[in-house]
Symmetry: C2
Subunit: 199 residues, 2 copies
């Protein structure tokens, strides 16, 4: 990298402490020495589960998302509790939302969904060896589940029926995995602070 | 769909009106009749440009993102001004950030990146027939550009070097387009309010 792109924190405050959202406002120094402010959501991070059956079909959810006033097609997902292990969270969320447990778990990737104004990260896991059981939805949580094939999901991505980023990305990963082009090799998340290629 | 999943607004307020972020807090009715609150960011939406050269290499940016204290690899992108046409915004942002203009534009898809707490939508465009020119970065905007091939970018996605969702999704779309599997056919965005398949 040629340019120094880094922005440096001077000081900051909690600008908004709502029921669900927390906004931090930091005063910062830009690369050219000028001062400005950055506001962003502090988020605990979340897990996303790609539940893949032995016949290569996939378990999904329909859930109403209030900010966009619309039902979305999504993979099971949920916020990481404070101090919770990511894989333990993935197992908990899959069971709570769908009732399914899985005998075979693989970490796939970390994604960042709103880098301009949120520190949220999503940890994607592949879940295989699925066994049905009773769901235990949180109070105030309403969703329904359905099964689809990866070709059906890819068609929904290309036609605009699936627009949720974790679901678009999870579907592309599943295509690569089922085709044998990408192997789910890692069993624990990559370190959060590095983004180096292993090569 | 079996269940009624819809949540209905009762009333609401601007809970936080910051320098950059605006948070709405609405009181709502859940599908079972219970009342609760939803807080979410109001966002004007953004465009993302996939600049594809005749040799199938792609133009990208490195940009520091303060919430995650890290330089990200990204496609050119920017917020839609109030009332601005999406395609006009894509042309403006590509030229401002990279200096490039393009003779051939295709709308690819809309994605939603934070459906639990933001109404942000991102409109992805493919830009071909590229011609270099001078960049005109906004005050306080610092970035550098570079070129890479789609196979190189896919390797960066699978290895965790690229984690920004618009860049992950744009790279998968470019692979489909270059392989001839998905055609960029639409020249204007799909209607915002429908998510129906054409079939």
């Amino acid at each position: 990298m040629g340019m120094d792109l880094k922005e440096t924190r001077i000081d900051g405050e909690v600008a908004f402490d709502g029921r669900f959202l927390k906004v931090t406002r930091d005063r910062i120094t830009l690369p050219d020495g000028a001062e400005t402010f950055r506001e962003f959501i502090r988020h605990p991070g979340a897990v996303v589960i790609l539940p893949l059956f032995d016949d290569n079909s996939v378990l999904l959810e329909r859930q109403f998302r209030y900010p966009l006033d619309k039902v979305f097609i999504e993979y099971p997902a949920g916020k990481i509790d404070q101090g919770e292990d990511h894989l333990a969270c993935a197992k908990r969320e899959l069971q709570e939302e769908t009732g399914y447990t899985a005998s075979n778990w693989d970490f796939l990737c970390t994604i960042h969904n709103a880098i301009a104004y949120s520190d949220e990260h999503l940890e994607l896991y592949l879940a295989r060896g699925l066994t049905a059981g009773p769901a235990r939805l949180d109070d105030g949580e309403f969703l329904e589940t359905f099964r689809a094939t990866v070709p059906e999901l890819l068609e929904m991505v290309s036609s605009g029926q699936i627009t949720d980023v974790k679901t678009v990305i999870g579907t592309f990963w599943l295509e690569k995995i089922i085709a044998g082009n990408w192997a789910p090799g890692k069993t624990c998340p990559a370190p959060v602070t590095t983004a180096q290629s292993p090569s």
